[in-house]
């Protein structure tokens, strides 16, 4: 029964009536047989039963109260002991809706202490229970996420002390949750080099409310128990709770991703390296000294350097003691182009050991390509340099489908040398000539591929006229072979703004004033 409160001896008249009529709790009174003796307005409302219908009827039938046998026994036992029973009961109202009522059942006793009836006082906790259930469910979800999530979750309070450390974080860092709860996160998982920055960031946020990292996904280093530093992706959010700010960090170990990225990068570098190696195997590693000449080359592969281009050049001494300079352009790029380039280059060299006439050498090359049945074309310009006893130097040129080399004199006169012939690898019957050009001391012979003249700027093409004008201007200024080659390269690069969609090769031979041979 307990205390009835101070002042209970002198309750003013009408107090009980007013209390039960207006209290925001359902009050009902039943006799021991369960017949309803009284029900207040709140009870009428909560149970959905008008009092005039209810009085005298069995409350169990009437009120829709669902109470198990066990609970009923508990209530009986409590009342028999003179105690109050309390608990939540579910009530189904006549309209079918259900309420949860937090109920206190107290006994009514006569003057000799014998139990005569029951007073039941109930308040509606349906809404509160629903909120509690939702909170529990969201807690359960949150816990499930923490428990089973693939991302490490580390929460800290405003002092930077760890308040949460989920199993994924345990696996990632090698600590158990109990190892680290309450310890400063900076000490545990932040690499020493970043600790002061971390602390400063937290302090700044607490002072200014501004956090640069909040809501962002960043890549940063973390350190595990063994001291291994590894890259993580980190997203920090502020936990939305009253009181001092706390934060949740979601961490993902990206070592594997980084390793994959690195492997990709390595394999690309490896590929570029292969392409460059292959390319350089198709070009003379070192330019030989050609007696009586200064030689310079310019070479620029198309694109990013990861493909083998089709342009090549070669410079070698023939069996007859002449010198041969070759420039060529194999159609296409890549491994097949490289294979044909190798075929052409070595066939030229082999042919030059047994044949003397440049056109004969190019015909041998043509036959070799046709014989290989590669469906690719090749253009070649071949010049044989021969000195005579009277110190004259004659270049004999044969040109198969290639732009004609340019002969530049010291006075700036520039003209094409040789005659146009058929490209190689296309047809069995080809037209090729041998043309002689006399090279005076200071004269230059410029061999180039169409990467020079085909260089584009918008709708404009670098073109042969521009090249001739450029060489003429440089030749009249007595430039060296190397200045000529780099001058042409630079002019083309400036013209097409470095886009170089095609390979480009330039070989310059400048007759020096020293005797030849």
């Amino acid at each position: 029964m307990g205390s009835v409160g101070a002042g209970a001896e002198s309750w003013p008249s009408g107090f009980f009536e007013s209390l039960v009529a207006h209290v925001d709790a359902a009050v009902i009174c039943t006799d021991l047989a369960g017949a309803l003796l009284y029900c207040n307005p709140t009870a009428e409302r909560l149970y959905g039963i008008p009092a005039f219908e209810a009085i005298g009827r069995q409350s169990a039938d009437l009120l829709g109260v669902e109470v198990s046998q066990k609970t009923r026994a508990e209530i009986g036992a409590a009342l028999a002991r003179g105690e109050v029973w309390d608990g939540d009961v579910s009530v189904t109202r006549p309209d079918g809706t259900t309420l949860i009522l937090r109920t206190k059942d107290a006994g009514l006793y006569d003057t000799s202490g014998v139990l005569t009836g029951v007073v039941s006082i109930a308040i509606d906790v349906t809404e509160r229970r629903r909120t509690e259930d939702e909170l529990r469910a969201s807690d359960a979800r949150r816990n499930a996420m923490l428990e089973a999530g693939l991302d490490g979750i580390v929460s800290i309070d405003h002092q930077g002390l760890i308040t949460e450390f989920n199993p994924a974080a345990e696996a990632m860092f090698g600590y158990t949750r109990s190892d680290v709860l309450g310890r400063e996160m900076a000490e545990i998982i932040v690499p020493p080099a970043l600790q002061s920055a971390h602390r400063a960031g937290l302090r700044r946020y607490l002072e200014t409310g501004r956090g640069e990292l909040l809501g962002q996904r960043i890549e940063i280093s973390a350190v595990d128990r063994a001291g291994r530093e590894f890259p993580v992706e980190l997203a920090i959010t502020r936990i939305d709770l009253p009181g001092p700010p706390s934060f949740m960090g979601s961490l993902r170990d990206i070592s594997a991703r980084r390793a994959t990225e690195q492997a990709l990068l390595d394999s690309r570098e490896h590929f570029v390296h292969l392409a460059r190696t292959l390319q350089s195997s198709l070009l003379p590693p070192v330019l030989p000294e050609v007696p009586g000449f200064d030689v310079a080359v310019g070479y620029r592969p198309a694109g990013e350097g990861d493909e083998v281009g089709g342009d090549f050049y070669d410079l070698f001494e023939t069996a007859q003691g002449d010198w041969a300079v070759v420039i060529g352009d194999v159609q296409g790029k890549g491994a097949e182009a490289a294979a044909l380039t190798a075929l052409v280059r070595y066939t030229v060299r082999a042919a030059a050991m047994r044949a003397d006439r440049p056109s004969t050498i190019l015909r041998i090359v043509n036959d070799a390509i046709l014989h290989q049945r590669v469906d690719r074309l090749c253009t070649v310009a071949y010049a044989r340099l021969r000195s005579s006893s009277d110190d004259r130097v004659t270049a004999t040129l044969s040109v198969g489908g290639h732009p004609l080399p340019l002969h530049a004199r010291r006075d700036g006169d520039v003209r094409p040398a040789g005659r146009l012939g058929t490209l190689l690898g296309a047809l069995a019957d080809i037209a090729l000539d041998d043309c002689d050009v006399e090279l005076e001391p200071g004269d230059s012979l410029v061999l180039y591929t169409d990467g020079v003249t085909d260089a584009r700027a918008a709708a404009d093409q670098f073109g042969e006229d521009r090249l001739v004008a450029l060489i003429s201007r440089m030749a009249s200024q007595s430039v060296t072979a190397s200045e000529l080659a780099t001058g042409i390269e630079a002019a083309v690069a400036e013209f097409d703004d470095g886009r170089h969609r095609d390979d480009m090769a330039v070989v310059v031979l400048q007759r020096s004033n020293h005797p030849f041979g």
Binding site: R376, L377, I430, D502
Partner: protein, 108 residues
């Protein structure tokens, strides 16, 4: 770069014409190969003409696809093969030595 490119095949009883327009390079090669194959499909005219008069640029890949491939095929099949050249192709044809296929008298 190749937005101006187009290729058309006109099959007649006496002559099949492949007409190319715009810039001809590696990127247009597949389309030209296809057109040439279509032009050579049976039954075919005894004469094959590649019309380059509206070409603005042609590189070595283009020459290969537009001239060398059909020239070889025409030779194998015993067809007469001619090229109609224009300002954008003349220089490339001269340099490559493929100008021997150029038809100098106008045909209709």
């Amino acid at each position: 770069m190749t937005e101006s490119f187009s290729v058309r095949v006109d099959r007649g009883d006496a002559v099949t014409t492949v007409t190319l327009t715009g810039e001809i390079d590696l990127t247009t090669r597949a389309a030209i190969d296809e057109a040439v194959a279509e032009a050579l499909a049976e039954p075919r005219a005894p004469r094959l003409v590649v019309d380059l008069r509206a070409v603005t640029f042609i590189d070595s890949s283009g020459l290969s696809a537009a001239i060398v491939v059909p020239a070889r095929a025409a030779e194998d099949a015993g067809l007469d093969f001619k090229v109609m050249s224009g300002p954008g192709a003349t220089r490339a044809l001269e340099v490559s030595g493929l100008d021997r296929f150029v038809q100098h008298d106008e045909i209709d």
